[in-house]
């Protein structure tokens, strides 16, 4: 176990370094934030600002400074907000994480029963109906679903607020929108991994013992089908954080995604670096959690 942790930790450090090198180089290759901040100013004024923001030093010097500061959790002040970038990102993180977790929970709440049903009643009318829904769901982009739900529930029926964040009612549409984006994939994975195990000998044995169908499915089949499901949830988490960007924009949710996209537009390097870095940490942690869950779900997996 400790060897596993050390290896993980090393990998974690490598990921962090990789992420910071990539974001740093892409950002600095992409242009001059000063000309965005002061589009009309004479060159002398721009040079002043560049000096103030530390952008006039050679790139390697900037990179070393960036890394040594970042190691201490200091990503510098946002060019745009003029406040510590890390603090701005951390402030928004609970909103985005909350939205993402809600979406995963919603997606599972729908995908689990429907996926299991499709597997158990394979080729039934219900199964085919579910497949159609899966295809439809996967073909609809997040922002479109979001706007359609908004038109239906908020403009037509006036049931929910159009946009915003804070009250429970305002969270429903964003969470459903983001959940709808990932539900079809969950459903498909649950169905296929259930199908793989449902006709295996041990399941038949369990049935032969006279165990109720409910128990057979939940305890025997599902538990063994869970590995691929957990893997996909882990992988989807990263994608969902990406999907949160669109959802946050459509529903005016003050999350990290909106902050980062705005920062990219304005070439606000510190925010982008802090944001991407933090998101990378979260994704790595989720994957770590998934690995640990493997052991719990399947004792034959050894953590090495």
């Amino acid at each position: 176990m400790s060897a596993f942790l050390i290896r993980r930790l090393l990998r974690f450090v490598v990921v962090c370094i990789g992420v910071s090198v990539v974001t740093f180089s892409i950002l600095h290759a992409s242009g001059d934030p000063v000309s965005l901040i002061m589009p009309e100013a004479p060159e002398a004024d721009r040079a002043n600002l560049r000096l103030a923001l530390g952008l006039s030093d050679p790139l390697p010097v900037q990179f070393v400074r960036f890394v040594s500061n970042a190691a201490r959790g200091d990503f510098g002040n946002s060019f745009f907000h003029r406040e510590p970038a890390f603090r701005l990102v951390v402030e928004r993180m609970p909103t985005t994480l909350g939205l993402t977790c809600l979406a995963v929970a919603l997606a599972l709440a729908v995908a689990l029963p429907v996926g299991i049903y499709s597997a158990v009643r394979r080729n039934s009318l219900g199964d085919h109906a579910a497949t159609v829904v899966v295809f439809l769901g996967q073909s609809m982009p997040v922002f479109w679903i979001g706007i359609m739900l908004m038109l239906l529930f908020s403009v037509q029926w006036r049931l929910l607020p159009v946009s915003g964040w804070g009250t429970w009612s305002s969270m429903v549409l964003p969470a459903v929108t983001l959940g709808a984006f990932t539900t079809p994939l969950f459903m498909r994975i649950i169905r296929s991994s259930m199908l793989e195990v449902i006709n295996l000998d041990y399941v038949r044995t369990a049935r032969a013992k006279g165990v109720s169908e409910w128990l057979v499915i939940c305890r025997h089949a599902l538990r063994n089908a869970a590995l691929p499901i957990v893997t996909v949830i882990g992988l989807q988490f990263g994608l969902l954080l990406g999907g949160a960007v669109l959802t946050e924009t459509v529903f005016a949710v003050p999350g990290v995604g909106r902050l980062i996209v705005g920062a990219i537009r304005q070439l606000d390097f510190p925010i982008v670096q802090a944001g991407v870095f933090l998101l990378a940490i979260i994704i790595v942690s989720v994957n770590f959690l998934v690995d640990v869950l493997y052991v719990y779900l399947n004792p034959t997996v050894r953590l090495r």
């Binding site: 992409s30 242009g31 001059d32 000309s35 965005l36 901040i37 002061m38 589009p39 009309e40 100013a41 004479p42 060159e43 004024d45 002043n48 600002l49 000096l51 103030a52 946002s78 745009f80 907000h81 003029r82 406040e83 402030e91 709440a109 729908v110 029963p113 429907v114 049903y117 922002f143 706007i147 908004m150 038109l151 529930f153 908020s154 403009v155 006036r158 049931l159 929910l160 607020p161 159009v162 946009s163 915003g164 964040w165 804070g166 009250t167 429970w168 009612s169 305002s170 429903v172 924009t249 459509v250 529903f251 005016a252 003050p254 909106r258 902050l259 705005g262 990219i264 537009r265 070439l267």
Partner: protein
């Protein structure tokens, strides 16, 4: 299966029982949707339209501009030019800041010094460039301040319409950062209650404001990035005013029972800047051909719902210096082809035009099609308005054939505010620096901007307009309107300077 049904039922119930935020705001609240918030509430430390719109409702400047674009007294009761470089302002007495203190001449001086930072090499305020001509703010007595400029500065009054006066003692006490986020204090009609970044800025009427109380007790600026969302909010009463309504949404909002539109011509002028350094636009005849090739009226009528006006140059009709005797190029394809032939292209020529005006892509493509029909076979290339665009076009000024874009003068109603940034070869304007090469234009622009003799300036601008119409450094197109979507419960009209001066807004019963 049952569990699934149960879950769905529960979700529906939650949705039904939960209090709906939609339309729940009271009659004493006015809510405005903006695409984003500015980085700070400090009116001197940003230069963003979305920030200015909030600031003007919290802070006053020395001068105010009426909806008819006339200067009105605000914190200054009167003003006069003592000579070419000295202006004197008499201050209003007994004006209160939101913290209860009384505004003094020291606060006015402090506000200017804060932006000008005399003696300092590095200037913090991005608005410094607007007022850099001011050399000194001189206190004469308790009610009088003089502004001394380094040379005659005809735009001074224009610039003072948005130059908020801030409280010296308060800022020194709470610090710059708190002043920009949690403790913004001005003399304006509304005072700050709460700012939740990227959510809302909530303001409350200031009961000691010198104009009296505004009609709405609360003023809220929500940040809603997506257009479809803000339209949905407007229709359901979640917001009362949305900005920049596009032509394709007009009929929708006009016909909706709860909304209406208000539209007015603004300063934003559209043009295609031609790269005069390279063929074919190094020839005057080719540039004129491009001007004859565009059916401006068709674009205005078919694509802008009629909300636009043809222009002869880039100088907009409401701006000082506009000369109505200079006429727009007529639409004449035959003439365009003749001119193109005389420029050496009897069989036409292939060109590529670039643009980063993503919202105007259909218009850009229509313009390209019109040019193609006249023999300037155009490929239109759209760019993301970000880093690449900045680098290749603005910073390096790569040789191309031309660029489609627009200019809004930062709401300064003066020909200088479009001519200098666009055509002067000084480093400021990238088109002037790289694209336009009009002999003698720099000198005329400089002459007009360094005089306070308005009739003389008018003559110079008339000459400039005749000159650039003839030389055609750009394809001159049209000005556009600004259109607001407004709830029928609110009486307010769009202003030509695109300001949201909400003291003028009233509830409709």
């Amino acid at each position: 299966m049952k569990r699934w049904l149960l879950g769905l039922t529960a979700l529906t119930l939650v949705a039904l029982v939960a209090p709906t935020g939609a339309g729940a705001q009271g009659k004493d609240t006015l809510t405005v949707a903006l695409p984003s918030h500015a980085p700070t509430l400090d009116p001197h430390m940003h230069f963003e339209r979305v920030g200015i719109l909030v600031n003007i409702n919290m802070f006053d400047s020395l001068l105010h501009r009426s909806a008819k674009l006339e200067f009105e007294p605000s914190l200054a009761l009167s003003w006069k030019a003592l000579n070419d470089t000295t202006w004197e302002f008499k201050l209003r007495k007994g004006v209160k800041f939101h913290d209860g203190s009384t505004m003094t001449v020291e606060d006015v001086k402090y506000s200017f010094d804060r932006v000008l930072e005399p003696g300092k090499e590095k200037k913090k305020s991005p608005q410094y460039g607007n007022v850099r001509a001011i050399k000194e703010a001189k206190v004469v007595d308790a009610d009088t301040i003089q502004l001394v400029t380094d040379k005659p500065f005809p735009l001074l009054l224009e610039r003072l319409v948005f130059f908020p006066i801030v409280p010296k003692k308060h800022i020194e006490k709470v610090g710059e950062e708190a002043f920009g986020s949690t403790a913004a204090v001005g003399t304006g009609p509304w005072k700050l209650v709460e700012w939740k970044r990227d959510q809302h800025i909530r303001l409350e009427a200031f009961d000691q404001h010198w104009r009296g109380k505004p009609s709405f007790k609360y003023l809220v600026f929500r940040a809603i990035p997506e257009v479809a969302t803000s339209v949905a909010e407007l229709k359901t009463g979640g917001v009362d005013i949305i900005r920049n309504v596009n032509a394709d949404l007009l009929s929708d909002l006009k016909n909706h029972p709860q909304t209406r539109i208000s539209t007015t011509p603004i300063l934003r002028v559209h043009y295609i800047s031609l790269d005069m350094r390279s063929a074919p636009f190094d020839k005057k005849a080719a540039r004129q051909a491009a001007n004859y090739a565009i059916d401006k009226q068709a674009v205005i009528e078919k694509m802008m719902a009629g909300l636009g006006r043809q222009v002869a140059t880039v100088v907009q009709p409401p701006a000082f210096g506009f000369d109505s005797s200079v006429q727009p190029y007529p639409y004449d394809v035959k003439k365009a082809k003749q001119l193109l032939a005389s420029a050496g292209y009897p069989n036409g020529v292939d060109i590529t035009l670039h643009s980063s005006a993503v919202d105007w892509r259909p218009h850009f493509e229509a313009l390209g099609q019109m040019l193609t029909e006249a023999g300037l076979r155009t490929t239109t290339k759209m760019w993301d308005p970000g880093p690449a665009w900045n680098k290749f076009f603005q910073a390096e000024g790569k040789a191309t054939h031309g660029q489609y874009g627009s200019w809004g003068n930062y709401s300064v109603f003066d020909a200088d505010a479009v001519l200098h940034p666009l055509y002067h070869t000084e480093p400021g304007g990238w088109i002037g620096k790289h694209y336009a090469r009009v002999e003698g234009l720099d000198k005329l622009i400089d002459e007009a901007r360094s005089s306070v003799d308005q009739p003389k300036r008018k003559r110079i601008y008339a000459e400039i307009q005749r000159m650039i119409r003839e030389e055609a450094p750009s394809v001159f197109l049209f000005t556009q309107n600004d259109t607001l979507g407004i709830s029928k419960k609110v009486a307010y009209e769009a202003r030509p300077d695109e300001w949201l001066w909400l003291f003028a807004a009233k509830p409709v019963n």
